[in-house]
Symmetry: C2
Subunit: 394 residues, 2 copies
Amino acid sequence: MKFNEYFKNIDENYLFAEVAKRAGDYSAANPDKKVLKLGIGDVTLPLAPAVIRALHDAVDEMARKETFKGYGPYEGYDFLRESIRAYYKDMGVDIDLGEIFVSDGAKSDLGNILDIFAKDNTVLVPDPVYPVYVDTNVMAGRKVIYAGANEFNGFLPIPDYSVKADVIYICSPNNPTGAAYSKEQLKEWVAYAKKVGAVILYDAAYECFIRGDGAARSIYSVEGAKECAIEFCSFSKMAGFTGTRCGYTVIPFALEKDGLSANKLWFRRQATKFNGVPYIVQRGAAAVFTEEGRKQIAENLDYYRCNAAIIAGCMDKLGIWYTGGKNSPYIWLKCPYGMGSWEFFDYLLNSAQVVGTPGAGFGKNGEGFFRLTAFGSREVTEEAVGRIEKMLNG
Amino acid sequence: MKFNEYFKNIDENYLFAEVAKRAGDYSAANPDKKVLKLGIGDVTLPLAPAVIRALHDAVDEMARKETFKGYGPYEGYDFLRESIRAYYKDMGVDIDLGEIFVSDGAKSDLGNILDIFAKDNTVLVPDPVYPVYVDTNVMAGRKVIYAGANEFNGFLPIPDYSVKADVIYICSPNNPTGAAYSKEQLKEWVAYAKKVGAVILYDAAYECFIRGDGAARSIYSVEGAKECAIEFCSFSKMAGFTGTRCGYTVIPFALEKDGLSANKLWFRRQATKFNGVPYIVQRGAAAVFTEEGRKQIAENLDYYRCNAAIIAGCMDKLGIWYTGGKNSPYIWLKCPYGMGSWEFFDYLLNSAQVVGTPGAGFGKNGEGFFRLTAFGSREVTEEAVGRIEKMLNG
């Protein structure tokens, strides 16, 4: 037996472990100092009451023989897929029920989707980037190339026709940079993908943070995208499902090549290696789309948006360059005084007792940048911003 | 972009679709006849009250900010892993907490585990077999060879040292044959695996049906198995979790080769392509191991066991050769009068209005055999058995 040797090529990602270690060391040495954490990408508000009620009802269904649910459809229950279809319709995008696959989260599907692609595809990934895109491909022995995101393109790289890519990752609004593509910019990527015969894996996990100022909520808002793009979405950030696990993936029927259909390949993959999302969880997810659920979810998102605005306002006041903060829970700032990412991390921790995430951990282009998140409580966010202002105004 | 062409090599499995079609056609043509289904592999009893209570409690935790759970550990919460470790300890097997990975079901892990193995491994699979073992490997471009299970070896093949295998699948108690290996027989497989340097992927999803008559509940009851085997288990049949989705996989630290550790590779795989099982579901699964939960689960299993005994008793009375029925919810019978699998399917449907599963659908050695399941209600099982006796006694 031989293990998969490609695992040897994955970088060990010590980013969050190193962040936790430095913060822990500081607290141990300074037990009297209160450390504020704006580094995490996890939600903190509880599930909405409408979701809680749906979960309880579904649990009760599992308690009675007449309403008990065994194996469900691999692709998810129609009641949830219908709701997802209606959600897309509301944003002006028509999708067929058969194009929607309920998943246990965008991360799983973003990794597992690679099963339907051949090994010898060249993968184009933005830098900096959510580490999963790179690691899943390196594990499978694929060649990864990078599209440079930086201050000059607002961390929104545009296609380079001199580069040949087969599989292209786009995350918008982006993790970690918070930058979001407009429909016009996505048109360029769709045109490029069609020109070079590539597929776009479009990670829309943060779509719910977008508010109508030109940023695109779905790649399918671009004409022709159904022939070249798969879209991944999640209830994690939209409805606080990080520990409840549900998402969905849209694979258009039109995405075909050499007599193979991406939709059929994925259905076969899922039928063989997956048994669906818990019935209870699917009921909870469907409640997100009810009138009551939407209202409650909107309030939660506004809470995080307000935190983001508070952090962004602080950067504006200090004259610090940043992306995100508007259509995203992330603020990606340029470290002041030309500091490196880790240098600024230590400075912020030691001077203001605030923890963030060094941009260098997301790729070489992240060096010199720093990520703050809006997922903390209002109190922590306000206090942290006050300390940062004091520190930098000094 | 190129799709994964290996998908073209997977047989379309029309087994259950064909079963449903023939049963549907019969019902349409004979609307007055009551058709009894003993074909399904899905449970029918609702979740145990202890599990229901734990699920409700966990839902309530998700409703409050103080007890809300976001991202959990990739490998599962310790409260559940501790319970699983104790469950193994009760059967005389010591496992470390770090060797236990909570999953969303045995099927997912049995498929996804292949990520940690190189493509050029030869895979040995019993015939007949649960189709997932073959399909997941064919999808990945691996060579699959077969170990013949048949009437003469009681559908429990033993190792053939003239065959070189790298990855070996064993399912015991078996789906579809219901046959279960004894510890002595598993010793032979462990010895073979160590001799040829293979890994055993041991599917113990039906372990809970075993009652102390020599059949092994875990491959780790065999000395040395930790150096060559991974064990997959599930709450699906044990506690009716087919629609609730939870299982666990044991990957011993001792399973190492060429400086790579299976345990570390799997952790890296899961951290990159999985975000854990819902907190709510893990709480429900943990309740299975409480004193109250164990008692309730045992009653449910006894209900299915009794169904199995009723079907097996019918076969005994009719003098029909079969495996299973004792340590398994499946009865795998030799079709009477030398009939083929599908021939017997039609005969049973037309003469007794009973639906089962033709053995030929599980591999070529399944031809001439037939699977009945114990997952129906008592009433349906008894009525079906009465009809079968009447039909074959003539």
